[in-house]
């Protein structure tokens, strides 16, 4: 076996298999895609889709809900989905099985990441599409490259953080708890559900928390590309930069800590150490 690894076909197969497995579990697809959509419908129903007259023309409030919820859906499709799926597959021994085949481990993980990005893309397109067709959301072609770049950097960041989550969570039962207790509170301070606006009175420490973590930067960079007030091309390099730092952190944690074998008695420290030794 001296020929080079056929990276692209292998990656394609892995991504396709991961993607297939995702859509075949209706409950997972619902939480990732359905829930944010329901939230969009609820937001519009509760808070109205008022028209604001401005120098930029008539703007509907859904113009601000839809991008925020699209970002939330994209983060769920990557971070939450990957973190939970990988730790579940590790518990089931699927990852150990994969490790015993000649498939390069990084290709397996890259397939997981790419499939997460693809699911996020579907979620985002559906979310923005419903915004456009049902709630008069405007999309400006000139800002689309910025939207695409924000989407790409954001989803890769959250996908890597999802792999890191699975590396830190030692069992499938721990993963959803960690995922939800991080992403949900963060969403409230990250301009995802509510557009806090830079000028409004938000406690300083909440602003700080929002600024430290990547979700707000994802929401703001994507939101700017969808905002009627921004100037094309609307690239937000600062926000993208913060996300890139988090991508590096996620990648580093995944690289250092990711284990392929199920952790026997995940709660006991000794078993964990033994497993780490065993995985080596």
């Amino acid at each position: 076996m001296n020929e080079r690894v056929p990276v692209i076909p292998m990656l394609w197969r892995q991504t396709r298999a991961q993607n297939r497995a995702f859509w075949r579990v209706p409950i997972g697809a619902f939480f990732t895609l359905g829930l944010p959509l329901i939230m969009l419908v609820l937001f519009v129903a509760l808070f109205g889709n008022d028209t604001l007259d401005s120098t930029y023309g008539n703007i509907k409030t859904a113009q601000f809900y839809a991008p925020g919820l699209a970002v939330f859906a994209a983060a769920s499709a990557t971070y939450t989905n990957i973190g939970m799926n990988l730790s579940m597959r590790r518990d089931e021994g699927i990852l150990k099985r994969v490790r015993g085949t000649p498939l390069p481990p990084w290709i397996y993980l890259a397939g997981v990441v790419l499939s997460g990005v693809w699911i996020a893309l579907v979620s985002t397109v559906v979310m923005m599409g419903i915004g456009v067709f049902a709630y008069d959301v405007n999309i400006e072609a000139a800002k689309m490259p910025a939207a695409a770049l924000s989407f790409l950097v954001g989803t890769i960041t959250f996908a890597l953080l999802g792999v890191a989550l699975a590396a830190v969570a030692k069992s499938a039962s721990a993963a959803p708890g960690i995922a939800n207790s991080t992403i949900l509170p963060l969403a409230f301070v990250s301009q995802v559900f509510i557009s806090l606006g830079e000028s409004r009175d938000v406690p300083g420490w909440l602003n700080l928390v929002g600024n430290i973590f990547p979700l707000k930067h994802f929401a703001l960079s994507f939101g700017q590309a969808m905002s009627p007030f921004s100037k094309a091309p609307a690239f937000e390099w600062g926000h993208l930069g913060v996300m890139a730092i988090w991508a590096a952190i996620g990648g580093l944690v995944a690289w250092r800590k990711f284990g392929w074998d199920p952790v026997p008695g995940a709660s006991s420290r000794r078993a964990r150490r033994a497993n780490r030794a065993a995985v080596g």
């Binding site: 076996m1 690894v5 076909p9 292998m10 197969r13 892995q14 298999a17 297939r20 497995a21 995702f22 075949r24 579990v25 597959r89 089931e92 021994g93 699927i94 150990k96 099985r97 490790r99 015993g100 085949t101 000649p102 498939l103 390069p104 074998d261 000794r270 033994a274 030794a277 065993a278 080596g280």
Partner: protein, 307 residues
């Protein structure tokens, strides 16, 4: 014949526990080699070190010329690994799973051929989640074969199978051996080891307590022979016979068993005693213990060694 696997002084410790405690063996190409032993004997630890799934603490290990700790992709390309328990992507169909895993190997067996080999023709397009435990195990087996491996590891391959499926798997493993593939398996079924393996190593407490062909094990372990017979009446006294025998006499009413290291002499005493008294000994049998006796004897010896 060249050695497919060579292991010298293999040790694996978990903290103070020595899961594998100085094991040496060598397995030839084309051989079917079985590790036999009770739970916790070190079978899985040993086989997973050979597979590259676990790192050893010390010792020399060579598998197809690779050190499994560093062999990587080239080595795994020649392995077929059936783990003791590991999940399969539940949402995919049998065919999809086989196709997916198969794609990582250089040498690939056609998916339909593999499905036929394990007898899952009727389930090829069913999702793995809908299969029974035994059927999933056959998918495990199929996944171990899709890469057309030179060396196949089977960790308790037929645990949980019904007798028919077990026979079928045995045939399959026999066929693989017939094709010159090397098979390393663990089992706690004696009949499985006896049926499949050219050679058996009995593991207990992390050590090899006996190794050889199934026949050699039988001979080596049971140095004693058992002589059994039935007395014609309940009250036939053994009387002076007891004093002349070397073996231990046990028995309940008419059924007598004599376990002896000197079967020839004891048998002579018994028969001449019976002839003198004009007694016909019903069901007179002389037998060497079977593999099960040998195996249990080995484990019992080991137990006393430890204590």
């Amino acid at each position: 014949m060249a050695a497919a696997i060579e292991v010298r002084d293999l040790v694996k410790t978990y903290g103070p526990a020595r899961a594998v405690d100085g094991v040496s063996f060598s397995i030839d190409e084309g051989e079917v080699f079985a590790f036999l032993g009770p739970n916790g004997a070190g079978k899985t630890t040993t086989i997973e070190i050979l597979e590259g799934h676990r790192e050893r603490t010390s010792g020399e290990v060579s598998v197809l010329g690779f050190d499994p700790a560093t062999g990587g992709r080239k080595m795994r390309d020649r392995f077929g690994i059936v783990l003791q328990s590991s999940g399969i992507d539940r949402e995919l169909t049998v065919r999809e799973v086989l196709d997916l895993y198969r794609s990582a190997y250089t040498h690939r067996r056609p998916v339909d051929e593999v499905i036929g080999m394990v007898g899952l023709e009727g389930k090829a397009d069913d999702r793995v989640a809908t299969l029974s435990g035994g059927q999933k195990r056959r998918v495990d087996l199929a996944l171990g074969l899709v890469g057309d491996p030179d060396l196949i590891f089977l960790d308790e391959p037929t645990t949980g199978f019904d007798p028919g499926a077990r026979r079928r798997s045995w045939e399959l493993i026999d066929n693989l051996a017939g094709l010159g593939r090397t098979v390393v398996l663990t089992t706690h079924y004696l009949d499985e080891a006896e049926h499949l393996a050219n050679r058996v190593a009995v593991l207990n407490g992390g050590r090899i307590v006996a190794a050889g062909t199934p026949a050699e094990l039988r001979d080596a372990a049971s140095t004693e022979t058992s002589i059994t017979f039935r007395l014609p009446t309940v009250d036939s006294p053994l009387g002076d016979l007891l004093g002349s025998l070397t073996g231990r006499v046990t028995g309940r009413s008419r059924e007598i068993e004599i376990v002896t290291p000197a079967p020839t002499a004891d048998l002579a005493h018994i028969t001449s005693w019976a002839v003198r008294r004009g007694i016909e000994l019903e069901g007179l049998t002389v037998s060497k213990g079977d593999l099960e006796d040998a195996y249990l004897g080995l484990l019992a010896d080991e137990q006393t060694d430890v204590e």
